[in-house]
């Protein structure tokens, strides 16, 4: 697109639309998209072009858009992002991230979006599962990929999803054949950051479970950076009938890491989606989990924990869409905010007309530990059917004075008593983590973060 045309687009984004164009214009995004535009099959090139067009029409959302009321996108809007420079090294020493390499897992490791290691030897049933980078999957089973990509994360009005599509290059592909109960957990490790110029990365992961399949997938997003590093990732999950997915997502980032993670899930009859989101944010993090319960008996458990301090911003959005009756959802999100951190929770429950016997519960609890910290929470119900059971709750408070007194009266120093109580608060989520090694690693991070010690891996 010519610069003149994009200037016109920028003008078209009137102040009132609630969207703004990038501060430095669309040119850098266009040239980034051009790098990938020629690769892949025709349908994918078309998708990318559509993504770029939508993004160019929309720009970035501002706080005037209800869904972004508390999420200021300025740290993203103002940067002149480019795709990260390819690393000159061909051999990567995985030892640097040893604590993150969970044993017993089959694993894909991506560094700055590039697949550097594929450890599939651990898979007990290698024929029942495809674990590939998206690029490789396109080469080996394109028809599957085509059916799934974009199916549950459509473009709509979501400019970040459109941007992800425009710059879509690689990601992870997990496909479990019907009837398989996968005994080996799958880990997807994404290492970002460590860049010298503002960089943007748009990975897309696709997880497909056939009917009656069962799997555990652990996504870990880690990294630290001096210059802004923006991860704009989308994960699409498609669950067949009676499929069970346990999906743990850990974000542990530091420094100028900006992270927008969107997970969209499509659930068929009798399927179960168990999501755990644990976030230790860098500068700016927003994690969204959206699930559609499309048939009878579909069940979703969404748990979340975020622990933030300093000046970090952390936002969790959930949306459970009870499209069909006889579906169940449970949500529990807990937040711990210290320093000058700003936390946001927005949980939505929709019950569509006719979705009778839907059962939805949602809870959000927040600990506010400092007067400079801020929490904005908005649990939301939109119910269009009468025979339903829906409830939600939210609390905001500080540590219980009585509990602190109890501990101190027994000789526990104030600092330690505080840590103990916060740890206990967070533990409700951590103890639900399915894999012991992941649970241990989370406990270690938690303790480190709470101790305020210099954070070394």
């Amino acid at each position: 697109m010519s610069t003149r045309a994009s200037a016109a687009t920028a003008r078209a984004l009137s102040r009132d639309s609630g969207f703004v164009p990038p501060l430095h214009g669309f040119a850098s995004y266009e040239s980034a998209a051009a790098q990938f535009a020629a690769s892949g099959p025709a349908w994918l090139r078309q998708l990318r072009a559509a993504g770029l067009e939508t993004f160019r029409q929309l720009g970035f959302p501002t706080t005037r858009i209800e869904d972004w009321k508390y999420s200021d996108t300025t740290p993203i809007v103002r940067e002149l992002f480019q795709p990260p420079l390819p690393s000159p090294e061909t051999q990567v020493d995985l030892g640097l991230w040893k604590p993150w390499l969970y044993s017993e897992c089959a694993r894909l490791v991506f560094i700055q979006g590039r697949l550097v290691a594929s450890e599939v030897a651990a898979l007990a049933q290698p024929d029942q599962v495809t674990l590939l980078s998206l690029q490789d999957a396109l080469a080996k089973e394109e028809s599957y990929v085509r059916r799934v990509l974009g199916a549950c994360a459509p473009l709509n009005e979501r400019s970040f999803t459109a941007l992800n599509l425009a710059l879509l290059h690689d990601g992870a592909w997990v496909r479990v054949v019907p009837g398989t109960r996968l005994t080996t957990p799958i880990q997807l490790l994404f290492v970002g950051g460590s860049v010298e110029r503002p960089s943007i990365l748009c990975p897309r992961n696709l997880i497909v479970l056939g009917d009656v399949a069962e799997a555990t997938v652990i996504e870990c997003w880690i990294g630290q950076s001096g210059a802004s590093f923006f991860t704009n990732e989308v994960t699409e999950v498609v669950l067949g009938e009676e499929a069970h997915l346990t999906h743990l997502r850990i974000v542990e980032e530091r420094g100028a890491m900006l992270h927008l993670g969107l997970t969209t899930v499509q659930q068929s009859r009798g399927s179960t989606y168990r999501s755990q989101v644990v976030t230790f944010p860098g500068q700016w993090t927003r994690v969204e989990v959206l699930t559609r319960l499309e048939a009878q008996g579909a069940t979703a458990f969404l748990d979340g924990l975020f622990v933030a301090n300093d000046n970090s911003f952390v936002d969790h959005h959930t949306a459970v869409d009870h499209v069909h009756g006889g579906t169940t959802s449970r949500q529990l999100y807990k937040g711990v905010l210290d320093g000058a951190a700003h936390g946001v929770f927005n949980g939505k429950v929709f019950v569509r007309p006719g979705a009778l016997k839907s059962d939805a519960q949602q809870m959000n609890k927040n600990l506010l530990l400092s007067d400079n910290a801020e929490i904005d929470t908005k649990p939301q119900l939109e119910i269009f059917a009468d025979d339903v059971k829906c409830s939600h709750g939210a609390t905001i408070g500080r540590l219980d004075d009585n509990a602190l007194f109890y501990l101190r009266a027994r000789g526990v120093p104030a600092d330690e008593a505080r840590r103990l109580l916060i740890y206990g608060f967070a533990n409700e989520i951590v103890e639900r983590v399915p894999l012991e090694i992941a649970e241990r690693s989370l406990r270690a991070i938690l303790q480190r973060r709470l101790a305020g010690a210099p954070q070394e891996d």
Partner: protein
Amino acid sequence: MPTSTAKIEELVSREYQHGFYTPIEEETLPPGLNEDIVRLISAKKNEPAWLTEWRLKAYRHWLTMKEPTWQNVRYQPIDYNAIHYYSAPKMKSRPKSLDEVDPELLRTYEKLGIPLREQELLAGVAVDAVFDSVSVATTFKEKLAEHGVIFCSFSEAVQNYPDLVRQYLGTVVPYNDNFFAALNSAVFSDGSFCYVPKGVRCPMELSTYFRINAAKTGQFERTLIIADEGAYVSYLEGCTAPMRDENQLHAAVVELVALEGAEIKYSTVQNWYPGDKEGRGGIYNFVTKRGICLGRGSKISWTQIETGSAITWKYPSVILRGDDSVGEFYSVALTNHYQQADTGTKMIHLGRNTRSTILSKAISAGHGQNSYRGLVKVMRGAEHARNYTQCDSLLIGDRCGAHTFPYMEVRNSTAIVEHEATTSKISEEQLFYCQSRGILLEDAVSMIVSGFCRQVFQELPMEFAVEAHKLMGVSLEGAIG
């Protein structure tokens, strides 16, 4: 429950009881809005120059504003130039006493069940009645004057107590607050004014009855209540309108000011014409209500029963500025047929040890859509602020909707904020239990709904609680099936 369906259909078709029109001679300004109309309204009320200017400032600001669209209600665009901004029953001069009020008007109020005269004698409730745009009668003036309480129409207040009006008007809801508040500030025609002096406990309930009569008019009243240090006042408003096919706009502004140790209790029983069962006609009730607890230890309590209006859209709010001040919001909102409601409150905690309670009960039936939208904001300086919010929704029928949009923004770590919400339907078991004991279906529904709303009704002054119960019964009849 097919057996009861027929009976229910019959009950549903029961019409709005206050839907009559009073053929009374009215003086109406031509439709449309411009600076001349604003000046004309101001001139008609013989207002001082500062107020005319204030109106014009509001009008000019309104022109720069856009009608909001974020609310969870749908309606056809309003043509602001088709509305009559002023309509008044013709009178030679202000009536000195009830005897001088047009008997046709008094009969209207009698039909509505508020015989002014009778109330004057028996009920002990002082009533200010607003008919279309102007206040027609205020009862019990002398008795109130003995205690130093000023209770009169807004126009009278502008004439007789201009300093008080000037001091407080627009301090809680500024003229540029929002689209409809700006419109109201430009064209408001009348309303009630109340001032309770220091240390006085107002000896009776004060009440205003609003009535829209003329066609194609908007009603824009403005209420200002000031409770001086240590004063107490309980105020109640009720509203009705005739049945018409077109929608009528009601955009009022209510401002409450509570000084140190003062308490204001404001109750509303809103029964504007809700439209017919196809969703035609009805009142658009777009109202800005806000109170400020200015002084230490002051308290403002809102209670609202919202059963009428095609669309109800309002958020009675409290700004808790004084230390130890208290804000309360109790609400029952009922939507039947095609009614829509987007209502709730805002509690803004500024002072230390400020407390707020929110209790919202929403009932949706037919195609009704009911939203609770509330904001609890704890600012940095509001040490030990406390909020408890509960909002429950009851759904009757599978075509209605209940929505909850609570916002909690907390910037102080000593704050404790709690919110809980539930959504459910009237259980078959409860209905069966009642019916098996010989209680008719509609009585059983009414009973269960009353129980659901009990906590809110308890907050209403006695005689209005009775009225509210009856209103709920009527509004809900036939909603089950």
